[in-house]
Amino acid sequence: MSEHDCNAIEIAPGVHWIGALDPGLRSFDMILRTANGTTYNAYAVRGSDGVAIIDTVKAEFADEFFARLAHVARLEEIRVIVLNHLEPDHTGALPELLRRAPQARLIISKRAPAMLKALLKPTDDALDVEVVDTGDEVSLGDRRLRFLNTPYLHWPDTQCTYLVEQQVLFSGDVFGCHHCDLRLFNDRVGEFRFSFDYYYAHIMRPFKSHVRDALKLIEPLPLTLIAPAHGPILRERPRRYVTRYRELSSSGEGFDRPFEANDQPASLIVFYLSAYGSTTRMAEAVQAGAEAVPGLRVSLYDLEGSEIAPFIDLIEEADALAFGSPTVNGDAVKPIWDLLSSLGGISLRGKIGAAFGSYGWSGEAVPMIEDRLRGLKMRVPVSGLRLQLTPTAAELDACRAFGRQIAEAMTGTSNTSVSAERVIDFAELSP
């Protein structure tokens, strides 16, 4: 570990990095890959009236954390421990830190108390915890920590901490990335822009509206340095990373706006697979039915002919998704599940979903897909459509009606779909 061998590294006057290096990590949280590991960044801030610790490290790296801490502070000097994020890669050393520095007060966000209890499973209420919100401050004598409540970046509890006098932002996972480099500072480490964007895409992108809310708090701050919880410390032109988050979180905004305020027409994407052509004919009829409703753009894709990755952006920006699958051995076919298990990086909340398909003798695929769509927090306002084997002309009419109902649910023009009188008995609803 050469020059950084368990030393603390000063990143600003009186502010030290006391984190840990994990160069061997190749897969983080099972969803992110990293070609050169990661860092768990923790910091010590010394004021005239005590020391603040900001975040800790993953449990396996506690010894490294305590060794670095010992270089800059005695345990009895620690007055507060700020937890910007409770995920175990930042709180793994917390139980031991609390044992060694029992006088320290924990500073957490207003969404964190229940999580903290679940994390530490305390046997009594002895924890000294202070809950903070945006604008609250903790004084260390000659310097102040000010808090920014930034929920869902990327957990409900996440917050940022701003060292007012030094204009240092301890940003938690925001502006972080999985990139381990002994040289630590953004102007000294190897190229990491791809890691920065990749981290955003997998960790922050599902919460892009929350990113924009947080940027409203962060952008007005004078910044000399951003100290994130993973990856390089951003001391050279820190504001460009804020700008990059603004760029990344501003793309694909269409979905967040109501249909009538959109520049683009509402978008329905129909994905399908077909063994003998029946589900293809259904998909084409669904498309035709939906297109008859004005103000829509309908796209039709055969999943057999594409990788999944190119569809992710389209799906994020779409207003409704319909999936057509035959039933094979009592299940939807694998490419459907491959797609529906690849959407964790985007938010589908509130989009409209629908399922249809031809089957031979049982037809389980459609309700199984509908359950998955609901699990992805989509609405399923139109009951799925199943047809046995070859569609007749009348059945294709039903497919067109199904497409039209989806379109009407999207545009809010439905006047025939569920019930003309808008009152229905619970017993009439499908099981």
């Binding site: 207003k110 969404r111 229940a114 909340r349 509130g350 609901r374 927090k377 989509m378 609405r379 399923v380 306002p381 139109v382 649910a409 569920v418 019930s419 808008r422 009152v423 229905i424 008995d425 619970f426 609803l429 499908s430």
Partner: protein
């Protein structure tokens, strides 16, 4: 069996239901815009706003009150997975 009417304002749909049923069980079937997470009253995802008939839902439990507070609920917000319908009411996503 006692009946009640629940109206989902976002999709302009009313459903006649047996009294005692949870809002989640109706809104999911009808495809209203209330969405769900844990379904156990823990996560707050299914928070809804009660437009009319606040008193026609069962009282929130202490645990539901706590989750509502943690999720910064406004007045007359409830969790759809916890609230049971005992009389006519109108709800919409919070």
């Amino acid at each position: 069996m006692a009946k009640a009417k629940v109206t989902f304002q976002d999709i302009d749909q009313t459903v006649n239901v047996p009294a005692g049923i949870r809002v989640i069980d109706v809104s999911e079937k009808i495809g209203a815009g209330i969405i769900y997470g844990c379904r156990e009253g823990d996560c707050g995802t299914c928070m809804m706003h009660v437009v009319e008939g606040w008193n026609n839902l069962t009282e929130p439990s202490v645990l539901e009150e706590k989750v509502l507070r943690e999720n910064m609920a406004s007045r007359h917000d409830r969790l759809a997975c916890q609230a049971q319908i005992i009389g006519d009411c109108t709800v919409k996503p919070a």
